[in-house]
Symmetry: C2
Subunit: 327 residues, 2 copies
């Protein structure tokens, strides 16, 4: 990291600032929409680099039917690999997305440490995804979460389409909070709001997470933003302001669907970490490792990926004395 | 606009919200870095479309030496064209950037309505740009602004590299505020802070503009952000929150320098207007015209331009009854 800009603009680290947790979801929410199926050994190398970078949670894949999403067919294999002693170069939590009981069963046997599961607040989206209405899907997820917790696993429950839906448009905030209340009542406190369609705007982000923290100040809020309308970073900043702790993000801003005109990448991990470090937070994360992985992935996929810092390079220290003078 | 999504998420327009003014700078800050020199008649068509869209101020070009920046060589001609009666389809202010007395003289004779001029808070940047230190350049700009005001022109004064410098790194906030105090003391109240290097972060944006409004609550603050590290929109949101009124932005997010590895486009006009409209503001601006101009420009320049909404399309009303139900 020698030569890197003193990323913290006031030269100090504010120790009092609540820790911000990075949940890297590019291996799942990024690669699942890529036309190319990335070979397992290539995935392993990227996961190793992501682990080494110092992010906190790495999502290895999702337990979906391999025929439906071939990009995720090796998820069990990846967990089995990294569950073996010595395979994680650093302490890191490995998460996996499960959509149904069958997926949960698979995840239980291959070493998932944190289960992510959720319900869409949009009935149309819920039916398209699961064949069930939102209330039906909620019952199913509650039962699955119960089983995972009983097995001693960490569980993050989410509300998808929490900020609007590509099919339905506006999603009433009360529908989101109804699901959140169910989660809280069941003692499920790690709660993610996912902006599946990219409809979120900063005011709405602050309002919704504010409502959750009012319902239960002990809630551990997580956010998941897509950049469909150029607002992922602005929404993440709003989430930072209102006390959200977990940030789901994808290296290189992966996640844009190559099959449609709508580019909808995730919040870009290295762009967000670059910002955090300039705010004096998470200086422990090795930004250069994230940037290198993002660049390498762009070369592998043979296209320019959406993130910014992997293309511009992080801010560098061009005249150290100018900063020393700041104190 | 029929069929467009009800962009305001709560379905209401908050009349009480301070007006936000859009200053479209793509014809200057965007095109000046393009390899291709855009023919004057093509520029005229884009300017016509931008005027029709309903943005408030359109910057037609800068008065620099045509040998140095051939992309801006027709600036006088563009002003002469749009100064003729009937050439502006709507009431709009035409602004021009001037760097020195010679430029001011040219602008005075061809119909500039608002002069933009500024000083860099970074000595290194100032010397590279003007051959003068920051204090020397400040004296010169004060004299130029005085002359423009005396001639009855609107004037916007700016501080460049206000949030950091690509050469010097950190720029002390006191250096920025020193220049701002000089402006305010001279009665120059429309003051822009330009993030020339893209170093700004949201907290810093709120702090600096907050300091200006503390110095003089009547200051009319303007901002100018580049997306070098993926933060232009987040910084614009911070500026919105702290009372900034004027937003400089470029259609299609133009401004990335094609000669270097660093993509550094401006805040994208249509992405920002899309956000404003979802917040219930500036519903009078015709987003579709901005989007069409951005798309056409991408075709003309034969590359994917950085903005988002011109690629994804604005949010559309996919099920109006879902919104009607919101009230």
């Amino acid at each position: 990291m020698v030569g890197y800009y003193n990323l913290c603009i006031d030269g100090k680290t504010n120790e009092a600032i609540m820790e911000t947790i990075i949940h890297e979801v590019g291996m799942r929410d990024g690669l699942q929409v890529e036309k190319a199926v990335v070979p397992t050994d290539q995935k392993i190398r990227w996961i190793e680099a992501l682990i080494l970078s110092g992010v906190d949670i790495v999502q290895l894949g999702s337990f979906v039917h391999p025929g439906k999403v071939p990009q995720m067919a090796d998820t069990d294999q990846l967990f089995a690999h990294f569950s073996q002693p010595g395979r994680k170069a650093r302490p890191v939590t490995l998460s996996g997305l499960v959509l149904n009981e069958k997926g949960l069963e698979r995840g239980m046997t291959c070493g998932v440490e944190q289960f992510c599961m959720g319900v869409s607040a949009s009935d149309t989206h819920s039916r398209k995804n699961t064949g069930m209405s939102t209330p039906e899907a909620t019952e199913r997820i509650m039962a699955m979460a119960h089983n995972a917790v009983a097995a001693g696993k960490a569980v993050q429950v989410s509300v998808q389409s929490a900020f609007g839906c590509g099919y339905e448009g506006v999603v009433p905030e009360e529908k989101v909070l109804e699901i959140v209340r169910r989660y809280l009542d069941a003692g499920l406190r790690t709660i993610s709001l996912a902006d599946t369609a990219g409809h979120a705007i900063p005011d709405q982000v602050e309002r919704l997470f504010g409502s959750i923290l009012e319902l239960d100040p002990r809630a551990e809020c997580a956010c998941h933003f897509h950049d469909t309308y150029g607002l992922a970073m602005a929404n993440a900043c709003a989430a930072l302001r209102c006390g959200v702790k977990y940030f789901e993000a994808a290296f290189a801003g992966l996640g844009g669907c190559p099959f449609t005109a709508v580019a909808a990448g995730n919040l870009c991990t290295e762009d967000f970490v670059h910002l955090l470090q300039r705010m004096g937070r998470r200086r422990d994360i090795q930004l250069d490792k994230l940037v290198a992985t993002a660049s390498e992935t762009g070369q592998f996929l043979r296209r320019t990926l959406p993130g910014t810092v992997h293309r511009t390079g992080p801010m560098r220290d061009v005249r150290p004395e100018a900063q020393a003078a700041q104190g």
